[in-house]
């Protein structure tokens, strides 16, 4: 990031190559559906590119990046909630089908089992996406990025105790949303 800030254009390609899977995954977790994930991932990196000149290494690069991802994703969600057209609406799946139909099936499940798994995954993704913003950031960073409470506190600019509280509330909300899958294992 410092190389990019100092005008090394090749550093941007490296940064994109290294972080695209992470950003792509985070965007999906925050949005809760595969629509617009590719486009928003591009927007994240363009934001990084445009603001690189002002980057100050006061915090870890990942902290800064998580904030950008969260801010852009939540802007999209707020716009959707207001019922406005979302500019980042183009799904980039090459055959026009939804993501879940494209997931490789290396477990060779029977079709009905596959359908049930797909629906369950969609439900889980939606339940996470419907959490309040800070709870969502906390649970996504904790479960999918393996971040410690301290790291999450840095991203959210709050105390470790607040993160502990956020995570317990997030988990309780998820338990309620996904009750039927939890009780009928």
């Amino acid at each position: 990031m410092l190389r990019l800030r100092d005008g090394d254009d090749g550093a941007f390609a490296e940064l994109v190559q290294r972080n695209t899977p992470k950003v792509h995954g985070l965007v999906f977790r925050f949005l809760g559906d595969p629509q617009a994930v590719d486009d928003l991932t591009q927007e994240v990196f363009l934001r990084i590119y445009r603001t690189a000149g002002r980057y100050q290494p006061a915090a870890k690069f990942s902290t800064w990046m998580y904030r950008i991802v969260a801010n852009l994703a939540f802007n999209v969600l707020r716009t959707r909630r207001k019922g406005h057209a979302v500019p980042l609406e183009v799904s980039d799946t090459r055959d026009g089908e939804t993501f879940f139909a494209d997931v490789r099936d290396d477990k060779t499940h029977a079709p009905h089992q596959r359908l049930a798994d797909d629906e369950l995954q969609a439900q889980v993704a939606r339940a996470v996406a419907e959490l309040p913003e800070n709870q969502k950031i906390a649970i996504v960073l904790n479960k999918y990025e393996d971040k410690s409470y301290e790291d999450i506190a840095e991203v959210l600019d709050c105390t470790v105790m607040a993160v502990k509280s956020l995570l317990s509330r997030a988990r309780e909300n998820l338990r309620v949303s996904l009750e039927k899958y939890i009780e009928h294992k």
Binding site: T20, F28, Y49, I139, K143, L178, I182
Partner: protein
């Protein structure tokens, strides 16, 4: 909060599952989960929730996405560079043209009557701009024309020595362009 545990106990249970509890409290929670049915049930539910969350896969990243991102960023950068270059040329030109126009207007204060027949004086083609009455009249009667970027650019490059005919031609072309008349 969790129906079976107090909020603070539930927070500790979650922190214990995440490996974030201090050692002494972690041992205590471990014992409660082993011995207390409510704690045991809450722990089971949260472990199941962990399984669900872990099983939820993110969509695959398209192979060409990183390349598309880099290409788009370079496109944005190039566009900005072109715009900045244009501004670097246009702003001084516009400023210079404005000053030149002001000086010409100032020098032209004792304006002679436009022409004997009451119409605009004809502009002779091929005459240089510098210091000629016809040119001054041309400037005054074509104020809008001189706000045009291309005209200013020609003026600046020619150091003031340019055919009126040429300027007129540029102005006409520009006026014919929708949205770029001034």
């Amino acid at each position: 909060m969790n129906g079976m545990l107090e909020p603070s106990d539930f927070e500790d249970l979650v922190a214990w599952l995440d490996g974030e509890l201090p050692e002494a409290r972690a041992r205590e929670v471990e014992r409660l989960v082993r011995e207390n049915p409510a704690w045991a049930q809450a722990a089971r539910e949260q472990r199941r929730l962990d399984e669900l969350l872990t099983a939820c896969e993110a969509p695959p990243v398209p192979d060409d996405l990183p390349a598309r991102i880099v290409a788009r960023a370079r496109g944005v950068s190039a566009h900005r560079t072109i715009r900045l270059r244009w501004m670097r040329v246009a702003v001084p030109l516009a400023a210079a043209a404005a000053v030149a126009l002001a000086v010409m207007l100032w020098n032209d204060r004792p304006t002679p009557p436009p022409s004997r027949d009451g119409g605009q004086a004809p502009i002779a083609a091929g005459e240089p701009l510098r210091g000629l009455d016809e040119t001054d009249r041309f400037v005054v009667s074509n104020m809008e024309f001189f706000r045009n970027y291309e005209v200013c650019e020609v003026l600046a490059k020619s150091d003031g020595l340019v055919d009126v005919e040429t300027l007129e031609a540029i102005g006409r072309v520009d006026k014919a362009r929708p949205g770029q008349g001034s």
